[in-house]
């Protein structure tokens, strides 16, 4: 529990930006509450659960950082967590729901945002950005900042997939953006791009490659090396330019 002040500080700095701490113990709920939550004044998430069989570790405390999809991106001692790492992890993260209390004129925008209606939220906040009421203006700037960050995160996610040529994953991202930003120019642009992607030959090839790779990849370990190499070479030729062909190239290199 010596690490509580450090985690409290990180929680205070980054929670609103999407960085969450979940400290887990298998001890009795009463003990956790008395010692950790009340005794040590932990302000971050504290949980009772027995996860020893799922998360093996010799040293305690020990931690893992999980990305937005729940995949492990770091592991180590909590004291090793620092601001630079966290800033890097959260920089492209879409902000979560707005939980801060805002002035009454901003409530409609916050409600729309929290429902995933970003276009509507953006429209509703605009008129308050020039409010003469300083409190309303400050809240409008805050809400507008969150909405802008959400848009930037969506754009960054789409760009990453576009650059990787992963049209199969890009399409649902564009469709989700188009739906969330309905009524805005950005939403229209996403919708138009989604239609173009869906109709393209490249998307159809990517979709076929994804299906074919899902079938081939689990079988590779059961094949003799020469047969696996032949299958991979054929796959690379048939689905050239797709992300799965790149995966196949990597597997082929490993084989050789």
């Amino acid at each position: 529990m010596r690490g509580v002040p450090h985690l409290n500080e990180l929680n205070k700095k980054y929670r609103e930006r999407g960085f969450e701490i979940v400290a887990v113990s298998s001890e009795a709920a009463g003990t956790i509450e008395d010692k950790m939550v009340k005794g040590a004044s932990a302000s971050f998430g504290v949980v009772k659960a027995d996860i020893a069989a799922l998360y093996q570790t010799n040293g305690i405390p020990h931690g893992w950082v999980l990305d937005a999809e729940g995949k492990c991106i770091w592991e180590g001692h909590p004291a090793q967590l620092n601001d630079a790492q966290i800033e890097e992890w959260i920089k492209d993260l879409a902000p979560g729901k707005i939980t801060r209390e805002v002035q009454k004129p901003l409530k409609a925008s916050v409600e729309a945002y929290n429902k995933g209606q970003f276009g509507k939220a953006f429209e509703a906040v605009a008129e308050h950005l020039t409010s003469e009421d300083a409190k309303v203006k400050a809240d409008a700037e805050y809400v507008n900042g969150v909405i802008e960050k959400r848009k930037a995160a969506g754009e960054a996610k789409a760009k990453k997939l576009r650059d990787a040529g992963d049209l199969v994953k890009l399409l649902p991202v564009l469709e989700e953006e188009a739906k969330g930003w309905e009524g805005s120019e950005y939403g229209k642009a996403c919708g138009d791009e989604a239609k173009t992607v869906k109709a393209s030959k490249e998307y159809k090839l990517c979709a076929k490659a994804a299906d074919a790779w899902a079938k081939l990849e689990p079988k590779l370990n059961d094949l003799a090396d020469d047969k696996a190499a032949k299958a991979l070479e054929k796959f690379i030729k048939d689905f050239a330019g797709t992300p799965q062909a790149k995966l196949a190239e990597e597997r082929l290199k490993d084989l050789k």
Binding site: V24, A42, I51, Y55, G59, V65, A68, G70, I90
Partner: protein
Amino acid sequence: MKTMFLAACLALYATTLAAMDKGEEAPNFKFEASWNTLPGAKQLTDYRGRIVFLEIWKIH
């Protein structure tokens, strides 16, 4: 020989220290009780969409 033994010990320690590798999906689990967690969160997967620092701790 001594170096090899130390290297083997370190490798063994590394593999037993954390079974979850980078890129691997974290196993889900339900919260038996919770404090200060996200409103409505009842299990780890309720945190999807956020960066999570998952820590195992013990009262000393």
